[in-house]
Each structure stands twice: as structure tokens, then as C-alpha cells.
Amino acid sequence: MALYVDIKKKLGSFRLDVQFEAGNEPISLLGASGCGKSMTLKCIAGIETPDRGRIVLDDRVLFDSEKRINIPPQERRTGYLFQHGALFPNMNVLKNVMCGVRRKCSGAEKEKIAREMLDRMKLGGCEKLMPSMLSGGQQQRAALARILVNEPEILMLDEPFSALDSHLRFELERVLSEVIRDLGKTAILVSHNRDEAFRITDKLAIMNNGRIDVYGGKKEVFADPLTRNAAAMTGCKNIADAVITPDGRARIDEWGITLRIPNTNKHADCVGVRMHDIHPGPGENEYIFTVADVVENPFSYTVMLSAGREYRAIGMELEKPVWEKIRADKVQVNIPPEAVLLLTKQALKGYNGNK
């Protein structure tokens, strides 16, 4: 394994307790803000010190509380991309990148390396500009150039898109994906956006309150998120407490319905149904719901359905023409049993870091 992390840290009432391993592959740490994602990266980079634990990168022990090893951040060789790039505001773009050149060589050679990397990041011509004159996307690419000339052994991307407008995000996303692939080393993306995490990385670790709830291949995690928090983080909007009855159904009092569920002996105390898994028309788990509200999105409608006044509404997402054909106060829908996600409120022990 290229990266091994097992750390504990207490900060006031917050406890960070994270264990995971990763190969030379991109992984995502997905979680709500304040769940400890950035803190985990900072511990790996050596900017923060865990109370206890061990961090190993490619057979180099970066941190070991028992052996009292704590390599300073300068020697860890971790490429850390910050939210706003963290370019030094008092130096121009070229000087910024030259600061990062790791190879011991003359100033002229450093400049050559920096210029080449800026060209690769499509920033040729911006060398003499101050960082404040660059757009958000250019700043991030300049910061990336500075990291790459530093020859890092691991890439850590701390919400790199959050300061960007949506049309710039996609562009930077493409650049980052390419860089990650070319580097061929471990890359950790910290994000709270499931879409970008899914697109950029192969594996997902879903964090909640200082712990990793679920860790696995991205497709498996999306198909079976296991915990309530992970389901929410992967974008499941309809989640409710449920009681599994002896005949293998889920009674959901909040929604006022009882759903047939996949045959399984998995323990579950809540269920989730993704908005696009509710279909109009007859079928298994078929109900007639009152339309409580209709929300128009750019390319779809979100139809809020309720079994009655006293129940919480659930959302169904339909393409525009489909809903425009239906348009009724009451609709018949069906929910395929295999689309019902069986979830637990607490993370199960033993699943953590399964692969």
C-alpha cells in the first residue's frame, strides 16, 4: 500500500479517528464541512500533528507516535493544493512556481523548469503577473504547477473547486484528472460534492463526525451506501427511519408507507430511495400519492409526493416532458424493491476500510 493512515486527534469536543489505506490511485474523502476531512490531510502533510497513530507513505514513516517520529512538512513531499491556491501574493506567478522547484540547480535552470510547467498548465504568458491578477481557475493551475515542480510523492487536493464558478470547475477538473493520471501516485481529493468526487477518483471514503463511515469502490458505495450519512453524501434525498417487519418489509412511519425490500438479512434501521428511482405508473410497491409541491429544475421537475397531510413528502425527479404529460394532483408511482437502500444510522464496525 502506498499510503497507510491511522491517526487520532482530539480538538475540544471533536475527535478525529481515521484509518485507511490507499494504493497509487485517486481516492476521495467525501463529507460535510467540519467532519475532519481537511484535518486528515493536514495531518498527512505534517501541518497538524495527531495525538496518536501512524502515517506511512511508500515505506517512509512520516509519523509514528510510539516511535516518536514526526517528519517536518518540508521533508514529507506532499503536494497540497489549497482551496484558494495559496499563491504567495507578494511574488509573481513565475517566482511562485520557482519557489517550488525541488531540484538543486541554478536560478536559470529553475526558471526553465518553472516556465515549462506553466506552459503545461496553459499559463504561458502569465509569468510576470501577480497572483491577484489571475482568475480563480488560473490561480489553481499556477498552484498546481508549483506543486508539480516540487515532485510530490502524493497529491492532496483540499476542495480545489470550491472557490470557482461552475463553468471554471469543469475545466480545472479535467486538468486535475490528467495530472493525477500522469503522476500515477496516490491522490486524495477532499470534497463535499459527490459528482466531482465520482468523476475524478476511483474510491470513495465517506466521513462523518471525525470517522470514515464507509470506504470502497465508488460504484459500490453509490449502489449500497450502507449508512444514512453516506446515502445523504452520495445524493440520496429521500431518507427516513424504518422498521423491518418479520415478513421482510420496511415500515416507514414518516412517509406512511410500507415497502417491499430486497431479500436480505442485513441489519437496517432506515431506508433511502433516490429521487430517480421512483417511477410513475403501476409496478411493485405501487402507491397513489398526493402531489404536495412541484419544483422546476433547469432540465427536470422535482415532484414532492405525500401519502397524506400528516406524512413527510418524498421527492421524485422526472424529465420535463414526462411530468408535463402527467400533471395531476394525484399520481400513481412504483418503487422497485431493489432500488430501496437499506441503511443504518451508525457505521457498522468492520466495514471501515474494507478494500
Binding site: 493536514k42 502533510a45 505534517g46 501541518i47 517536518p72 512538512p73 518540508q74 521533508e75 514529507r76 513531499r77 506532499t78 503536494g79 497540497y80 489549497f82 482551496q83 484558494h84 495559496a86 504567495f88 501574493p89 507578494n90 519557489c99 517550488g100 525541488r102 501577480m130 491577484s132 491578477m133 498552484a143 508549483r146 506543486i147 516540487n150
Partner: protein, 223 residues
């Protein structure tokens, strides 16, 4: 007009500003990293001279540096050097009085610093010294210069603690402020007024400089 008081005031203020520049920045930098309780205590101690009457500062200094007090007596015995009533004795007084000004402004400037810049520098392998002098200090430059100018101006006008620790000896320990007092006391109104004008002129220049720096600072942030 004998210009000695101005010269003396300038060298006292200059030297104490240099001392306070380094001491204030060190204190500001390390206090931000201190544990909370220690931080609270040190902050009170470092800021105290700002609110204490200068005469109290002078009194406390005399208790330590006076020729019959333990430290003053020890220096006198070992080096044959009297710490009070010298022209440079005033440096002790002004340094203590202006220290809080430098410390406070430097701390404010450091608190506005984006720590991620330092983190980024360190993960790139840049030494802590480089990060401090080439990234942190330039970022906080305007605040720190403003603090330094303010400290210098305050040192120029220091009266209470200075007069207690080095008195008024014409041509030896006289400063602008002690001269004004002495001239007023001896009814030499004309000369006293001239020194007052000198003092006002210097202070006005200093304040203009601070305003200029602050404006420049704001413009820099808006970019």
C-alpha cells in the same frame, strides 16, 4: 537654538524603535502560538505599559535599574556603570512604553495573515525562516511599518518615564519633551513655544505617514 534635545530625542526614539521592532514582532509571533492561558497572561503583561501612567513605568524601572536596587547595583559593581541619569537611560523608558504599540499592531497584522500561505510554503519544502521573512513579513509589511512609525512617534514624545529615569540635564539627558517642561517652568515662553512647534511638526509628519500607509494597505487588499 541648541538642537541637542532634538538630536537626543531622535537617537533615543530611533534605538528604542529598532529594539521594539524585533522584540515586538517576536512577542507577537510566538504569543499567537502559545497555549491559551499563557497567551492571556502574557498579553496582559505586554499591553500593561500602554495603559499604565508613564510615571508608574518610570517608578518600576527605577526599582530595578536604580543604583541601589538589585540589578542596578549589580551592574554598577561589576561594570562600574550607572544605569540611570545617562542619556541612554531614556531608552529603557521609551522601549517599555512603546513596546505595546509595536506588539499590538504586529499581532493584528499577523492575525490577518492567511496561515495557508505558510502551510503551502512548508509543504513545498521552504524553510521556516524563508516562510517568515519572504512570505509572512511582506504580507504583513504595511501593518508592521505603521506600528513601527507609531512607536517611533510615541518614543519621541515620551515624557513621564524618561524624566524619572534620566532627569533633565541640559546637553546631556535633555529631550524635546523634558526641555519644553523645563523652559515653561523657567518662564522662557518663546523658546518653549518653538520646541512645541518642532514637536507638533514631527508628530504631524508621522501621522501623515501612517495615513498614507493605511491607504496603500487598503488599496492593496482591494486588488
Amino acid at each position: 537654538m541648541d538642537w541637542f534635545p532634538l538630536l537626543n530625542s531622535l537617537r533615543i526614539a530611533g534605538i528604542s524603535s529598532v529594539i521594539v521592532f524585533f522584540a515586538g514582532i517576536c512577542a507577537a509571533y510566538y504569543i499567537a502560538r502559545a497555549p491559551r492561558v499563557l497567551k492571556g497572561i502574557l498579553d496582559v503583561i505586554f499591553t500593561l505599559p500602554l495603559v499604565l501612567p508613564p510615571t508608574v513605568v518610570g517608578y518600576l524601572l527605577l526599582r530595578v535599574l536604580g543604583p541601589r536596587r538589585f540589578f542596578g547595583a549589580w551592574v554598577l559593581e561589576v561594570f562600574g556603570l550607572r544605569l540611570t541619569m545617562q542619556w541612554w537611560s531614556a531608552i529603557f523608558a521609551t522601549t517599555v512604553v512603546i513596546f505595546p504599540l509595536m506588539y499590538r499592531t504586529a499581532r493584528g497584522a499577523f492575525e490577518a495573515f492567511d496561515e495557508n500561505l505558510a502551510f503551502a510554503g512548508r509543504t513545498l519544502g521552504l524553510s521556516n525562516t524563508f516562510v517568515f521573512w519572504k512570505i509572512r513579513m511582506p504580507y504583513c509589511r504595511q501593518g508592521i511599518i505603521a506600528g513601527l512609525v507609531l512607536s517611533f512617534a510615541r518614543a519621541l514624545g515620551e515624557y513621564g518615564a524618561t524624566s524619572m529615569i534620566c532627569g533633565y540635564t541640559p546637553g546631556k539627558t535633555a529631550t524635546v519633551s523634558t526641555t519644553v517642561y523645563q523652559l515653561w517652568r523657567t518662564d522662557d515662553d518663546m523658546l518653549a513655544f518653538r520646541w512645541v512647534l518642532v514637536n507638533v511638526a514631527i508628530s504631524a509628519v508621522v501621522l501623515l505617514a501612517i495615513n498614507f500607509l493605511e491607504k496603500k494597505n487598503k488599496r492593496g487588499r482591494n486588488d
